[in-house]
Each structure stands twice: as C-alpha cells, then as structure tokens.
Symmetry: C2
Subunit: 984 residues, 2 copies
C-alpha cells in the first residue's frame, strides 16, 4: 500500500523531475500553501519560478478534536507553482496522479469551477477544484492577482489535499486510519495533536491574548513595511492571519470585524507585494525574467475544393464554468454571424455547440470564394484634378501614382454631389480558407467572459485558457493564427481517452467523429441523456424533481462532455438531519440531484453524473464516501447544537463581536429586540409571540451548524426553536427575522417576523452608517445595500407596517446605538433609502417621473406604492391632467418666493373671483385619489381664469393679487406630489 | 553536482530505508530541529520512534545580512531520531554520508566530544560534533533528559548542518554559491530573505513588541499546561523561545535576564514533558512500548593452554572525550588490579592503554588455573552436634545433608574458641578463562565517568556507549558477558578501514596486530608522533610551543587513534586580528596548534591532526576553509567594532537589560563606577586613571565581537581602548575590571583595576541577592559564588584595599540598587562571604579551627590572612599557648552571662591580687602578634592563680569576685579571636 509519506515523496520527485525546486513548509502557521512566500511573493514580478513543497495547513475553524473523519485543524497540502504556465499544466497534473498510482481513466477526475480569492491577500485567480469521484482533492488556480497587483506572467498553482487523496487511495473512512508510514497510522502519529490543537482553537485559546497578538503582529508588519523589508513584513502578515483565524474559531469575530481585519490585512499584503516587486527589481531580478512565447505560425493555406463546404471551428479550452459556457455559446453565434457578414462568402445557417472543453461553430455551405468585386478608390475633386487647361494637376498625378495607375486610367464619379476622380479596382473574391482565417481569428479575440483571466498567451484573455483551435473548411485547414495558437485539423477527446488527440477528416464529419468518440457536443442532447438516465436510475422508488432542480441540471449538463449518471445511496440515519441541510450539501457542495418519494420526502439516495467511461463501482463508492463525510460533518454540528438550548446558544452571542464600536452580537440582538418592541407598541401590534421571538432573535448564530454553513441562519433557528419546544409562531418569527436573505427571497409572513426583520435592518443601517459610512459605488463591505432593499421589501409586503415611517424608525435606531450618531447620518440614510426605492420601482417598470413625484414619502414604501397606484390611475383622468397642467403653468408663471396669499378684496374679474371661490372650496385630501376628487371642481374655473385673465396686469397691486391667487393654485398637492418631476 | 535539494532527498530516503518516518518542519520558528515536537516530545516515554525531517532552524543571533560566508539566520538542519538506540548509530550515520557521495575514508571524519544541553528545555545529552576535515557538520547526541525527565529508552539524535555539508561537497566558499537545485543558487533563492530577516533580527525588531509577545506566549503556554494540553503548550514554549532569541539578537537581554527567562522556559518545558508522558500513558501508548534487549550469551568457555599466558581485555567504545579517557585508563588499572587480587591467579604487571575508541588492559603471565584450595564449611557447635550419647543430633544430620556428605565425613575445629563441626571442601582452583570472565565483567560495570550516560543497554552506564568487548587469555576467548555484551576475539579498526573488524590470534599478538593495522594504542606514543610530526611540518619557519600548548596537545592526542599531523595555512591578512582572537579560535574551536616564529609572533599557519590514512590534500583544504570561515566571522565583527568608538559601544549598554529589576547594563556600569569612586575616596586612592577607566567600564559588552565570543570580554575592551587612543593604564584597568574570570585566573595588577573589579562584584552581589537570592546548593544561575570568590581573591591580592571592609562596602552597594534591599540581605551576604573565605583558606591547607577563630574579620580577607599568619606563629609560642589554655579554662569555669567586672577590694589571696595587677597591665593590641606580646606578662600570674586559688569559694561574694576576675581573663582577645573554635 502506498503510504502517505511515500506519496509525498513521489509527488515531490515527480515535480522535481519536471524541473521544480523543493522548499520547506513555512515556519509560522499558515492556512494554506499559498501563503508561503514561495507562492505569495514568488508569483509576483517577472521572474520564473517552479516549486514544489509540502505545507501543513492550519485551519483553526476545521478543528473537530480529531473526531470528524474528514476534517483536520492541520491538513497536509502539497503545493506546486508553475510560473510561467507551461501550456499543459492539467496534463502534467494528471501525470502526477498517475505517479501515485491513480488510474485516471477508471476514476472520474473532474475540473469543477472554483474561482479562488483571498480578500485578506488582495489575491485572486480562476481555476477549479479537481474532483476525484466527487471528492475535492486539489485546488488548481491560474493566479491573476496577488497583493492587489496584476501578475505577469501568470502562475499556475496546484494544491493537493493529501489526506483526502490518501484516504481515497487507501480506501479509509477516517483520516486517522491512513497508513502514514509502513505499519504506522496517521492517528497514531498525529491523533493527539489533532485533539489538543482542536481544544486550543475551539475552547481554550485566550481571546484577549490573541487579540493582543493580532495587534502586535500588525504593528510589526507595518514597521517592516516602513523599513522597506517585505520578507519579515510578510511573515508578520501571516501571523496576523493565524491570530485572526484563532479568534474566528473561538467565535470571537463578527462579520463586520472580519471585514475590517481583512481590510487591514489586504492593505498590509498589498504593501508587501509592492515592496517585493520593487526590491527584486533593485536586486536585478536574481532569477532572470520570463521570456515571451513566440507567435504561432499559421498552417499553410491550401484549398482543395471549389464547391461550398461546411466550416467547423472548434475553440478548445480548459474546463469552462457552466455559466461562462452558456454565455460563450451566445457570443460565438454573434461573432461568427458578424464575422461572416463582413465577408462576401455565401453560407448556410450558423449553429453552435459547446462542452466544458470546447466551443464549436458549424456553418454548412460556405462558398469556396467570395464573389469578385469592383471597388472605387476616391481621388481629388475633379476641379482640383485638372487645371484650367484640362491638364492633370500635381494632385491628380500624385493620386494616380499612389494607386499605381496612369493618369489616363482614372474616371470621374459624383460623390456626395461633387465630381471626384476615382480609380476602379477590380478585386477578385478571397478564397474561403484565407477569408475565414481572418474572421475566425477575430472570433477568438472577441470572446469575453464575465470573469476573464490570462494564462501564458500575452494577447488572449478569456474565462479559462484556450489551448487549441480546430478549423476546417471542408477538407482543408483554415489557417487561423491568434497569438501563440494556430489552428489545425486535430481535436482532443477526453484526456483519459486511449487516443486523446485525433485528426478530423473533414468539417462535415467533425461532429460525428466527436460523437463516435463519446463527446456529446450539444447541450440539449447531454441534458436529455442526464434527465432520462437519472429518472431511470431512481425508478420506481423515487424521482428527480426535474423542474425544481432545473438550474442544477443545467449546471451539471455543462460540467461534462460525456455524461454518465450514477446512482448513489447514503445511510438512512442521515435523514434525521433537516431537509435544508441535506439538500444544501447535495446541491451546493456536490452537485448531486436529490431523490424524493411521491410525497416529496427525501430518499437516502442521490444521482451524480460522471464524465466518460469510468469504472462505475469505483466512482459510485467514491461519491458515496464523500457524501457520507459531508453528512458526518453536518451531523457532528447538528448533534452538538441539539445538545445545547437556544438560550445557551444565545448566550454565546456575548462572545461574538459585531464590530469594535457597535459591541457584541448579543448587544445587537438586544437592540433589535427593543426596537421591534418600540415599533410594535407605536403601531399597537405588540404580542406574546413577538415578545418571545425577540428574546431569541439571532440565537442560531451561536450554533455550530450556522457557524459552518452561514446560509442556514434562520432556517436552523426555526428548527432548533421547534425542537426546543417553542411555539410554531415563535419559531417562524425567529426564522423570518433573517428574511429576505437576498433579492427575491421569501419575505416574512407574520407580523412578529416582519417587525424583527425590519428592526434588524434598521439597527445594522444606523450603526454602520454612523461608524463605517454608507456604501459607495465600488465598496459595500457590509452589504448595506441589501439591508436597505430588505427594509423596503418587508415594508411593502407587510400591511401592518404600512404606517411605519422608516426614517423616523431609523432615528430611533440611531439613538439606541452605543456610539454617538452625527446629525447628518439619518438624513443621508433617508436619501439612500429613497434612491434604492426609486431604483426598485423603476426596475419594476414604473416611470421614473411618477416615482420621483411621490418619493417624498420614501420613508413609507408601502404608501409610495399606494400613491403611485393612484397616480397611475389619476393620469388617465382628464380633470386631473387639467388641474395638473394648470398647477404646472402656475409654477412657471409665479416667481419663486411668491407667497400663496392675496387680498380677495382686490379681485375684480369674474373669472378670478370664480377661481378664488373654487379654490376656497377644495376639500381636504390625504392621498392622490382624494386630491383628484377635491380638485375636480377647479377644472372649469382654472380654464376660464387662464382664458380670460391677464395675470401680469400693469397695476402692480393687481398683479401681486393675481400672482398670490395663482401661488395658491401652485401649492395644491404640495407635500403629496412633487410636481417638478411629474411629466404629463 | 549533487544539489542541496537532492542531498536532502537522498538523506531522507536513506533514513526512510532504515525505517524512519518523515514529518514536516515545525510550523513555528524554532532554533533547532530538537525543538520540533517530533523530537522534544517523542523522545519522552517508552514508545519507539524513528523519524527524519528537515528543519529550517532560525538563529536570530547568527544573522549576518547574508554577508558572512558561513553564518545564516536560518540554516537547514536534517534531523534524525532513533529511539531506541539501534546499537550502531555511528555506522548508520557514516552510511548516510556515503549516500550523499562523501568518501568517508578519504576525508577526516571525527566524533569530537560535545555535550549538548538546553537549559531552556531542561534537556541534555552526551555525544559529539561530527567533524568533516575540521568542519562541524553534524551534532550527534544520546539524549539523556528532556523537560527534566530521564529518558528511557535513550534516543539517538543526529542533526546534520546541511549548508555546511553541501558547501564542503560542492567546494563553495560562500553559502550563497551553493547549487541549491540544478542551475539555481542558494543565494538566488534565499539571499534576499537572509538579508531582510537579518535586518529584522539585528536592527529593526521592536523590542517592546517582542517583550510583549514573549509574555503573551508564556501566558498561553501556562494556560495550556493548566488545561492539560501538552501539544499547544509546547508550541507556545517554542514561541517564547523565538521571542527571547529575537530580543537577544537585538542586544536586549542581559545575562541575568537570560537566566530568569531560561528558568521560566525550563519550568514550562518541564511541565509540558510531564503532561506529555501522562497523556501518552492515558492514551495507552499508541505506538507501543520499546522491548528490552535480551542479555548476551557468553562465548563457550574453552581452555587450550596449561601454561601462563597473557591476558588482554579491550573495552570498545564510541569516541570517549579526552578527559574521560584519561580517567578511564586510571580506573582500568585499579579495577583490574583489584579484580585479579580477588582471584588466586598468578599474573605479571598490569599495563593499560587507551584511544578514543578503546580501553585496553594487558596482563602478561596469567596462570592457567588458580591454586587448589580447601575451604571449611562451618556447622553447628560440637555440643549441639552430638547428643549426650555421642550420637549425631538432628542438627548435625541436617547440616551433613545440606552439604551432601554423611555425618561421618565431618570433623571438629575450634572456631572463635568454640569447637564446631565443619566440612572440609576441597576446591579445585578455577580455570583462568572462567575466573577472568567474572573479574572482567566487574571491570566493565565498575567503570564510571564524570558524566555518565545510558544507551541501549539497561544495565550499563558510562561516558559513551560500550559497543564491544575483546577478551583473550592466550589463544582462548575469555567468556565475559555483561548485560547485552559478550566478549569475543575480534576487535575493530578505524571504521573506514578496508576491513573494519578483524580477528585476533592471541592475546600476545593483540597490540602488535593493532599497531600493524595503524592503531597506536599508547597515549605517549601518539603524543610523540604528534609533537615530532608537527615540529617537522613547521621547521624551519616556525615552531610549536610544546610546553605552552601541552594541555591542547594532550587533548589532541586523545582525539585520534592513528595520528596524522597536517600543516595548514591561512591568509596573512587575518594576522591583523588580535592574537587572543586568533588563538581562541584555533585552540578552543578547532583544536589546531598555533605556529609562532622565534619571537613568539603568530605565523599564518596551523597544525591539525587527522585520524588515519586520509587524502591529505583534501583534508588540508577542508581545514583551511573552516579556519578561513571562522576568521572571516571574527573579522566581520572586529571591523564593525573598530568602526565604533568606545563611547558608542558604551552607549549600547542602555539597550542591554541587566535584569528587569536592576535596570540596564548602563545602569549597572554607572553603579560600578560610583561605587569604585566611593571606595577610592574613602581609602584616599582616587586617580585620573580610575576616573577615566570607570567611565568606560564594561563598554566592550556593546561590541559585536564580545557579544559573539563572551570569553573575550575585557580583552577586547583593552584592545579597543588602546586603538581608540586611551592611556595604556586606563586600558589595562578596564581589562582588569573583568578579572578574575574564573578560579585561578589572573588578578588585577593596578589599583584602578582592582577597585573596578571589586565594585563590579559588590554590585552584582548586592543586586542579585536582593532580587533573586543567594545561591543554594544546587542552583547558582547567576554564578554568584564566582563573584564572591573573585571579591575575596582581589581583596587578598591588593594591598591598597587591605583596609576595605567588604561588608561595609556591600552595604554601600546595596544602598545604590534601584530596588529596596531588605535588612537581612547584607548580613546574609556577609555570612555567605565568610563561608566562602573559610572554604578557600581550608582548601589552601589552613586548619579549620584557626580559620574559624579569625573569621569574624571575614569582611577584610586580607586581614584574615594576616591574623591567620600571626596565629600560626603564635601557636608555636608556649606563652601564647599558656594564655590561651587559661582563657579557655576560664571560659569553661565562668558561667555564661557573668560580667567581666569585680570589686578589687574583695580580693585577698596574693595570687589573685597578682593576677588582678597583671590583667590591669595588659597593653592595648590590634592583632594577634600584639595580643601575644601584651599578654605574655599574664602567664605566670595565671599559672599561680589556678594553682593556688579555689575559685568556687563557699563565700558567695568572694566566689562572685573571683568569677568576675576570671571573666576579665575570659574576654581577653574577644573580637579578635573566637576562642570557641580554636583547638590548641
């Protein structure tokens, strides 16, 4: 049996055989091999670097006392950096798996999108998790930025999770059973350390001491930056990170504090990176600079057919993320269509296909040549071309010379109404291969992803590296060349195929050749294979909710080229876990399809979809083991949580800092509770349910499961509350306090829930606006925008709250903060709220002028809804329109500052007297419907007034009186409608 | 060329092939691989453990900005632990050198005594530095204790210094030139880090921050110990150690502070060790327990000669330290002599020999058998043996049965005057091999070293492991067996010999066989070979000071079995370094013999002595490179120091803490200065020289060379002061302030020097006695005993200080401390001083009674010398003896508490009147000579008084008067002599 230590030695030897250096693990605790300077610093700058090293990676959060079969507070990473990208890093990687005896053809080895980012390091990259039968065994990333700097060249980072790989290879169900060395188990060597370090991280680390350490480390890091020493500075950044992780594992870090610490670390890491680059340059790049790759030479251009033939163009990529694949197919249609439209080649209908590793455009009937063509080259105006004597001028001679013709060869044509001399150029149509080569090259460079990356090709940028081009027009290679890529007639199959690269005879046989070799190029075909296959596997015991899981199925479809659905099962015991926990794990973590019975209850089985002709039993067993491990992990927390009362969980909120200035999570929960009570009392909607729910609000943040899977906050609160014997209504309200979790999410259905939800958001807005500030265009670290949107959504959806003025409530929330809130904070929040509401309403299709007309009521979004509805009705009413037109006319005529008062005695004309009388009779109104009714009587007097009365009378007193009367009209509806915005 | 990374891989593979586990370096900074829990914790307890790992070892103190060719702040160790000792670890080790291509026969590979101890870890072991051509490449230790616990089984620790080995293999003169991987140098990979981390450690680390870190770490360590978690506790102990080392490198740790921190770390490490052992036991020893080795079976006992033959007994060891070898030879003579005396074997003169790897006893003419012998076995008394009827009693029958004879076979013998029955046993003398086997076994178990260790043999303990026994009597093996060792007829040659184990034909040919094979068994023979060879090598340019270097030559002689003196040279430029620096390096670090010209000036050459037939050019070049590196290191510091003025160095004392409570070294220097001035003023011996010297005292502690080579303190002060243009007398006084550095060292010759020396010691004693306490039997962490002895020595040697009362001076010193000094401190110091003085004087041969008689003057040791000399004279004077006898008689007669007063009028008898008159005439005296003269007139009156006067008269008044008179006699010499101690 391959022992773990031998596996490490073999992997190391494999990579040193590929020319890598070996360095040692970092001698301060790091969370990942990426943090080792052999990665973090070396990926910066132009120097090449190839390295392999082991990194025991410390994740205090993953501490499980050694009890969980798959989680360790220290797991072993093997880290490889290839800088620059060698062009075939995935193939090299598969070679390394073979080096430790993994039959990559029998197993289901997959590259599943995983875009890595470390906010604390200002670093990110695109790449994948590598799955071995559903088990994540490696992180594979093309590093794009580190320390906030763009990386050039790009580095490939390969991070192996050694324990996981070895457990799979040795068929062990607990990491402790790993044969670490011959006759010695992992547990025997490291078991005690796992237990004890878990104790430190989870239970015993002194929070105050670690806070002090964090600050001391940050101080030293800053001092070293100031001293211009990136190496020690980096070491202290790492120590910061570990101290932070310890605090986090001890549950002493709030979301807000996390953001603040990340910002500090990001700033430090960024300074370190800049310094490193500068220092290396100063040292003259001791390891040299990475040479640029030469551009590719296109294939020789040949054309063997005079008939129209099919064009096929395949862009071969490394595994594209499903979302990017969808977008790329759409782009491909557009780019090929536009490209061909720019030629004079006749062609048939363009069709595109795509799998994770290829984008294909197929165009039948592409003509062999473009039609011939006459082109006019415009010369000087005729008047300038010939002198008075009709002799050619110098201008004409120059033009003719430049076109390579004699002055006799020009003709005259009227262009834009003016006669010019022109040269007629008879151009032969281009041959299809040459013309297509240009078009297709532009297709490649035209592709864009939502997130683009660079690899070893300086001119290209896309979602993932483009590694090959296949371009055939009939039997001929289209000589496309883009930067370092040249198209040929070969394509690639699965990397594990017996013959992974095959030649294509002709464009016409391309799709068939792929199909014969197992590659299903068409998304719909693959989807159908998956759905039918999956339903077949679970029939008759259960079924897949194809509609409900549509988005998951779409995703899975675009994760494979050659789908092979497999049925797996799991222990029934896990069905005791809440449905949401089970399905979150299946869908989000594993992309497995849940299987339900006729009543919709989960069955202890799942369907996964492998890629290619794997060893089914092997792959099934692997996937089952992975799910078991994940459920074991969840069950570990769930059991621990069930052994804890909601009150005890809530007590833990004391130890969770919300932010330095805003106190603990417990403080925050108390504020939410008292704010909810205040609002309820004010509106007369207090209740026992609210009382109880408010005393529990946010308690599940103190649970282990929610600490682990934050998306379950609220859901678990409801579950735990019910199991602890709380009323169903109370449990529901505690759940609803977290709603909505994102745009379009469920909203509170109960009044108590809505009150808590609103109070939660008011508190977070007031506190953070006062201490951190409102979101700006680029930065919203605490997701305050979402809080505002939630506030609006709940207000609009909860009739009981319709009368609540959110701005007033914000004032109350501000007064309850533990810090003084400046006077301008609540007004700024009110403005921000109004802007968000405007945005929401316009996105719902309301016209912006009407929205703005009623936005003065933004503090009560439900009322805005009402007013807007009335306004939309009113604008169809001719009377309203007449009144409105009159008011707007009055607004134009009456000078600013004119008071709405006048001496009625000075009125003389009947029309003005009539208006005066009508205005006096306008009844009180409180909304737009009321306004319409109340002002209907003004329509006639207003019309008459404007027809008959000359406002700007010569007599100043008369004029003032009439303006006063009109100002009264102007002010009608003031405060209800902002006439300045309304366009009718 | 073997790259460094390949060498690490090969060594790792070599040891895993030997069954070792591989673990990763520690993920917190450690100063050595020993600190990794894979060593420190795993050597504890009974579990077996075999491991190999790389450990980048951080030594902030060794920071040199990457400029020094041989010193790195982080160097790479490869660490191997073999637990239990496999019995042949040195041979396994040599195998590992072969595995990286070292021809161990061509090079001079040596095991040179190095007893490792880590006070901070409560750990120690015995072993060696392994030298490769004079270069220390490996530390090889048999671990005896860790965390204060005895280790059973003992672990072998092998620590390779990888950079040094690779530099030698690759023939590089600077570590940066090492080929780390193919085409990539060490400097290219690690150069920047060396520079920057050096900057941190030497210049930029924030002292306050690191002090806080140290305390926080110690706090966490203690908390984890309290929580019963040895693993995290150990991690924090390591962090303490690193923080301490950083402070130390920043020059912020004084000797006293170091001792205090070591004590704290030792305590923590001890608690960690105890906890670990307890936890492993609780866990049921996951790795099992080490099985005990079986006892050896002795060789079959055969005897092929009837004639007397030579006995040879060789005890084969691993390399003994020279000092232990000397002692072992002496023990061997004694043990063999005593052993043979306990037999009845005739034998010739016993001779012993020894080399580092063997102790040999040769005894010619050992008889073939002991003489036969009759032994009487004592039975019951005759009266109990026979009944009244003369018949044997049950007692006799029982005795006869127990002796296996019939009752008729007993005879009667008078024993102790009483007739007993006895049985005569005729015993044949033992055969030589059998008899000798018993004797020689006791020789082996009887050997003791100053420092003993254990290895894999549970019953044996010696300076180094005993690995084989060779025992021959003539042609026959003497069947000695001791624990796991059985003697045979083979011996071992150099490990690198073509045939490292050879058979010996007979005892008579043993020494010759060794000699023929190159082993020079006799110390004197080896010494002569070395001396003649060395003088030959340097003739005629220079010579070796054979007398002056006698102790070094003796040491070198016992470091080899087959001496091969080699001449090496070094660059003349290094002769600019002070003589003391050059020779300290040669003698102390390298055991090279310095070469001087006729005037005694150093020549740029040295003689080293290799062991065995090495490749001379290779070994010479290696040794030269080592010396160059050492000199380069010293020169680095020396140059830096010369660029710094004494005043600037002195200014650095501000940053050196003496102890937390006693301030900085600068504070201490100021106290020394002011105390020296006060004493000088008091005694009228102030001077300009003192003034200036006091302002400089201790300045060289701020120099880099002294920081590095502390034994040069004072020496460098003198050198730097002279070079800075100070007066010769001032420079000398600054030097003398440090004297004496140890017992028997040079003493100050100038008054200014003596004043500073005394002031230094007074200050350290007063300060530490007040804050830490006086030394106890087992603990003297600050070497206060040495300070007391220095004080005594200087006082006795400096006439100008004879009148100085050290106790008074201590009081002055105490008053100057920055902390309050309790009232009992100075008296306790005075008592401690008196005890030390008593010890010194009795060790000088003074009788303890006389010493104690004058010890009340211990505050003035010079006066004690005077009084003692006078007392020694006085005791030869019959008058003094008479007076003394009378005084002691008076002390016996006069009841305690009797006052020395009486009414002269009450005296009646002539004898008492005469005594009264004589007592009245005793002149004043100030010393013992004076006392003898002043009391001479009392001899006759006293004699008469005791002859004629009956003191205890019946008349109470008369009795009181006479007792009063006698009390006056009793009190004579009081305060000068303590009569209670004096025995005459």
């Amino acid at each position: 049996m391959l022992t773990m230590q031998d596996a490490l030695a073999r992997l190391t030897a494999y990579w040193t055989d590929q020319g890598a250096l070996v360095v040692q693990p970092m001698n301060t605790e790091v969370g990942a091999g990426t943090l080792n300077p052999a990665t973090f610093l070396r990926v910066l700058g132009p120097e090449p670097w190839k390295v392999v090293y082991v990194e025991p990676s410390v994740r205090p959060d993953d501490s499980r006392y050694g009890e969980n079969p798959n989680r360790l507070q220290t797991h072993t990473q093997l880290q490889v950096i290839l800088k620059p990208d060698p062009g075939n890093p995935q193939e090299l990687y598969l070679g390394s798996l073979r080096a430790i005896g993994i039959d990559v053809a029998a197993h289901d080895v997959r590259f599943v999108e995983d875009n890595w980012a470390s906010p604390a390091l200002g670093a990110w990259g695109l790449g994948w998790e590598v799955w071995l039968d559903g088990l994540e065994i490696t992180q594979f990333t093309y590093f794009q930025q580190a320390g906030g700097l763009n990386l050039d060249p790009v580095s490939v980072e390969i991070t192996y999770g050694i324990e996981r790989i070895i457990m799979a290879l040795q068929d062990k169900t607990h990491f402790k059973e790993i044969e670490y060395a011959t006759g010695v188990s992992y547990g025997e060597v490291f078991g005690q350390s796992e237990y004890e370090m878990s104790r430190y991280y989870l239970d015993d680390a002194d929070i105050e001491a670690n806070r002090k350490l964090l600050d001391l480390y940050a101080g030293e890091a800053q001092r070293m930056i100031d001293a211009g020493l990136p190496v020690p500075a980096h070491t202290f950044v790492l120590k910061c990170s570990q101290a932070f992780n310890v605090l986090d594992a001890r549950g002493a870090v709030s979301t807000a504090e996390r953001a603040a610490e990340f910002a500090r670390m990001r700033r430090l890491a960024g300074d370190v990176a800049k310094l490193w680059v500068a220092r290396r340059a100063e040292l003259g790049l001791p390891l040299g600079a990475t040479p640029a790759l030469d551009p590719a030479r296109p294939a020789a251009s040949t054309q063997t057919s005079d008939d129209a033939r099919t064009l096929v163009f395949e862009i071969g990529t490394e595994e594209l993320p499903p979302g990017e694949l969808r977008s790329a197919r759409a782009q491909l249609v557009r780019l090929v269509t536009e490209g061909l439209a720019g030629t004079r080649l006749p062609h048939g209908e363009i069709r595109v296909y795509g799998t994770p590793r290829r984008l294909i455009a197929v165009v039948p009937g592409v003509g062999a040549r473009e039609d011939d063509h006459v082109r006019l080259v415009k010369g000087p105006k005729t008047t300038a071309a010939y002198g008075g004597d009709g002799a050619p001028t110098k201008a004409l001679e120059g033009f003719a010379r430049s076109q390579g013709v004699s002055v006799d060869a020009v003709t005259t044509v009227e262009l834009g109404g003016v006669p010019h001399v022109v040269v007629e150029k008879h151009e032969a149509g281009g041959a299809a291969p040459a013309v297509l080569a240009t078009v297709l090259a532009q297709v490649v460079t035209g592709l864009r992803a939502a997130k683009n990356m660079r690899w070893n090709d300086p001119k290209l940028s896309f979602s993932r590296p483009i590694r090959w081009l296949t371009a055939l027009w009939g039997d001929d290679v289209v000589p496309v060349a883009v930067s370092t890529l040249a198209a040929g007639r070969t394509t690639r199959l699965l990397r594990t195929a017996a013959e992974p690269v095959i030649a294509i005879e002709s464009a016409e046989t391309f799709l068939e050749t792929l199909g014969v070799n197992g590659i299903v190029a068409d998304h719909e075909d693959r989807r159908e294979l998956i759905v039918i296959g999956a339903q077949d596997l679970v029939y008759p015991d259960g079924k897949i909710d194809v509609k409900g899981e549509a988005s998951l199925i779409d995703q899975v479809t675009d994760l494979v080229e050659q789908p092979l659905p497999l049925l797996g099962t799991f222990d029934e015991g896990y069905l005791d876990l809440p449905d949401a926990v089970l399905t979150t794990v299946m869908r989000k973590h594993q992309r497995y399809l849940p299987v339900r019975d006729a009543d919709g209850a989960l069955l202890p089985m799942f369907v996964t979809v492998a890629n290619g002709p794997v060893d089914v039993e092997l792959v099934r067993a692997g996937n089952e083991a992975v799910l078991r491990a994940r459920y074991e992990d969840a069950a570990f927390f769930y059991r621990a949580d069930l052994a804890t009362s909601p009150a005890d969980m809530r007590a833990r909120l004391d130890r969770l800092t919300f932010t330095d200035k805003l106190g603990s999570m417990a403080d925050r929960a108390a504020r939410i509770s008292s704010l909810a009570h205040a609002v309820a009392a004010d509106r007369g909607i207090s209740s026992g349910v609210l009382e109880r729910a408010a005393s529990l609000v946010k308690f599940d943040l103190g649970s282990q499961l929610v600490t682990e899977m934050t998306s379950l906050a609220g859901v678990m609160a409801r579950d735990y509350a019910l199991r602890a014997g709380e009323d169903r209504a109370v449990a529901q309200a505690v759940y609803e306090a977290e709603l909505p979790r994102n745009t379009g999410d469920e909203l509170p259905r109960t009044v108590a829930g809505a009150l808590l939800s609103v109070a939660d958001r008011l508190d977070v807005i007031a506190g953070l606006a006062a201490t951190v500030g409102l979101p700006t265009g680029s930065s919203d670290p605490f997701a305050l925008r979402r809080a505002f949107l939630g506030l609006i959504a709940v207000h609009r959806a909860t009739p009981a709250l319709a009368g609540l003025d959110l701005v007033e409530a914000l004032r109350t929330a501000a007064a309850a903060q533990p810090v003084p809130v400046a006077d301008d904070v609540v007004p700024a929040c009110a403005e921000f709220l109004a802007k968000r509401l405007e945005q929401v309403l316009t996105e719902e299709g309301q016209t912006v002028d009407r929205v703005r007309a009623v936005l003065s009521e933004a503090g009560r979004p439900a009322r805005v809804d009402l007013l807007l509805a009335q306004l939309n009705t009113a604008v169809g009413d001719p009377d309203f329109r007449a009144v409105a037109a009159a008011i707007q006319r009055a607004r134009r005529i009456v000078p600013a500052g004119t008071e709405a008062s006048y001496s009625a005695a000075a009125l003389k004309e009947p029309a003005e007297l009539a208006l005066h009388a009508a205005v006096g009779e306008v009844a009180a109104f409180s909304d737009i419907s009321g306004f319409v009714g109340a002002t209907r009587g003004l329509v006639a007097p207003l019309n008459t007034f404007f027809d008959e009365v000359f406002v700007m009378a010569d007599d100043p007193e008369l004029r003032a009186t009439r303006l006063g009367l009109l100002a009264t009209v102007r002010d009608l509806g003031d405060g209800l409608l902002d006439w300045s915005h309304l366009r009718l």
